[in-house]
Point group: C2
Chain length 157, copies 2
DNA sequence: CAGGTACCCTACCTACCCGATAGGAAACGC
DNA sequence: GCGTTTCCTATCGGGTAGGTAGGGTACCTG
């Protein structure tokens, strides 16, 4: 009953990109910088970004001046997208295991009731995930007065 | 991002008692019967019931004719009670881990935003858990026409 | 009071998976 | 071509979920 560190790292990482590049969308942010700011092991963060890239949420640019940037605008990427990409579950965060209980020969008497229950919970949670966009988080960051790294904005002077 | 089998088993077990004794509340249901109906390993189910008993959700009676029965009426026991008792988390199902990220020296830049996020999610989920009672589940079971075991009602003829 | 029933307590074990580290290859920019 | 940065794969240690086991204790019945 908890989110994996992978997902939490991933949310922080994507938020970091969205926040840092809110004035210059599409600019690549190197993983190294993100790792330092967000206190995520670099080599582990790289793996996370691979998952995000394969899921079509970020794109990458190699070599100097390379890094990662959002494929879609920040208000089109939801927490649900991240969770699905990183938690490794397509649909049914809670219900999935309950299903396997039935699959085994001889389903429990109360399966009809409890399975429906977990699916409802899934619905509630997924709906909540879907209505939180990265842009929402950026706005929150601004409201809290979080600091941006200047190096990115340099090129806009 | 999933409930443990322990919690799922526990929900089924408590539902089983509530459902079987809906016409004769307070009658003890032996673990052995529950284990068979709900397809839960008996020795494991016993452990689960110990947690539930210590949490004050069920009471037990030893010896022949013994078993477990609900301490409170079914409409006063919520899913939240069960989850707290079995998942081993007092408060903060999601937020707990995010906290420890901060605790480590050098908190990530986005901690202010993301921690608040997980706490909100906690709130949503916990609220949902709190508004589902065992009695609700019993009603669902009846609506679905689930079968009760006759042996308990025998004594009411 | 004897013996079976059923709960109770503690220890232990094992397979899985999360989180992380590592090595090296491929692309890119200057 | 040389440094930078992403990309791919393998590996690995530790924690824990899930279940087994053994023995004890209360209770009822005959």
């Amino acid at each position: 009953m908890k989110l994996s560190a992978k997902t939490r790292y991933g949310v922080r990482a994507v938020f970091d990109i969205a926040f840092q590049t809110q004035n210059c969308p599409g600019v690549a942010v190197p993983a190294k910088e993100i790792a330092e700011r967000e206190k995520v092991p670099l080599r582990y963060l790289e793996q996370i970004f691979q998952d995000l890239r394969r899921a079509g949420l970020v794109e990458s640019k190699r070599g100097p001046r390379g890094g990662y940037f959002l494929k879609r605008p920040a208000d089109k990427t939801t927490l649900a997208d991240l969770v699905v990409a990183l938690e490794g579950v397509s649909a049914g965060l809670f219900a999935s295991d309950a299903r396997s209980d039935d699959a085994e020969l001889g389903k429990p008497a109360s399966a009809e009731v409890t399975c429906a229950l977990w699916e409802e919970l899934d619905g509630v949670v997924q709906q909540w995930f879907q209505q939180v966009t990265m842009d929402d988080l950026v706005k929150r960051g601004n409201a809290l007065g979080l600091g941006r790294d200047d190096t990115l904005n340099m090129y806009f002077i």
